[in-house]
Symmetry: C2
DNA sequence: ATCCTTGGTTAACAGCGTTAAGTAGTAATT
DNA sequence: AATTACTACTTAACGCTGTTAACCAAGGAT
């Protein structure tokens, strides 16, 4: 059992950190608590990570990968582009709603809440973006999607979705507004803006 | 000068806190630092606030008010609804870009980053939402805006905008993408989704 | 002259991230 | 076989944090 424990202290740390994050939130995530959880001294963490920020970066990375995995699984092989965009959007939403703390940590990388997330790590984050780009280009080819700058458009797609979730998760929504209805409405808006204005019929067909 | 100093220690605290926040970020905002800045003991803050979270809530409230003020000023009295939405969107963006830390603190109220923002305070936050609601209803009346649920729509409007800014401010944007172009494109998308599909001509007229 | 209130203070607690120095156990060298 | 070097940790300590409890000095009311 020793060789099992050996190098995977790093894994144990990440795992424990994730557990604390999911159960108690970022606010209550401390190195000492993580260390206590796996029966090790807090300073041991420095053997595997440069510091707390660095450890959290790993959590972010892992969260992004899990999110991307969900997206990849949700993208159907068949069906029109509008349908595909809808599937992607809902996969994104569902991930965020079922793992809110894990989702939120992804966007915790705000400019001063933490050491800047190393830009080389963003490459992984771009997988989700590429999925949408692909779908958009497919839609453009078929004349169903109206987009001059698909690269930018696929970023705005995620950005808008994130905004919607950000409002929902931070509970800023007016209590008189039903959360689910809000999300549905928002996704409708977002997707409709990518749609070729003259191809409303195509959209109807697409839905079936 | 004493009666000046009297009850406005509270104001001094808020002011100092805001200064620290703007210059050093939320991460480096500590009660002791604020207290030091105005030559008072840290525990004095507890005479005016329940604790740090409570103080930060005040900062949030102030930031929301400043943002709302910008929006109100930016809303023209004349012009079509689409034009008005554009003006509001840009005012929002400009506020966020010129005071990024102040803007970001508004959305810091995530579920576990801080004690829940008291929901009664959200009423003030809804002023901006009402501005959009008003414009949307105006547009619906004129047949230029296509919206069945304007209440919800005005929330999705802000949510989408926030998402765009969130991506920009957290510097998650692909370096190959120009920030300004991204924002313009995104605003275009957001606004176009509220537009009546059959009234593209109206939009053109609106622009002039 | 005493009491109570207002508006602060100091001291202390428990916890934090991080650094420096030390220490067992194992592997390699002589 | 003895010594050295390395690996994977630990303990101690620094300076910071939010927060609580106890104290204190000045002013107004009784």
């Amino acid at each position: 059992m020793e060789e099992v424990k050996k190098q995977n202290l790093k894994l144990q740390i990440i795992e424990a950190a994730r557990e604390v994050l999911l159960s108690e939130g970022y606010r209550n995530l401390s190195l000492r608590k993580i260390a206590r959880k796996i029966g090790v001294s807090a300073t041991s963490i420095y053997l595997h990570f440069e510091g707390k920020d660095n450890l959290v970066h790993s959590l972010i990375e892992a969260a992004i990968e899990r999110l991307n995995e969900s997206l990849k699984l949700a993208l159907p092989e068949k069906g029109g582009p509008i349908n595909k965009l809808e599937k992607l959007a809902w996969a994104y939403v569902n991930f965020a709603l079922t793992h809110p703390r894990e989702y939120q940590i992804i966007y915790l990388v705000s400019s001063d809440e933490m050491t800047r997330y190393p830009k080389e790590k963003f490459r992984k984050a771009r997988k989700g973006y590429k999925l949408v780009l692909q779908v958009l280009q497919e839609g453009i080819a078929e004349g169903i999607v109206d987009e001059k700058k698909p690269r930018i458009a696929s970023y705005t797609f995620w950005a808008q979705l994130h905004g919607v979730l950000s409002v929902v998760l931070s509970k800023r929504l007016d209590t008189r507004i039903d959360q689910e209805e809000f999300i549905e409405e928002a996704i409708d808006h977002i997707i409709s803006s990518y749609r070729q204005k003259t191809s409303l019929e195509a959209e109807e067909l697409d839905r079936i």
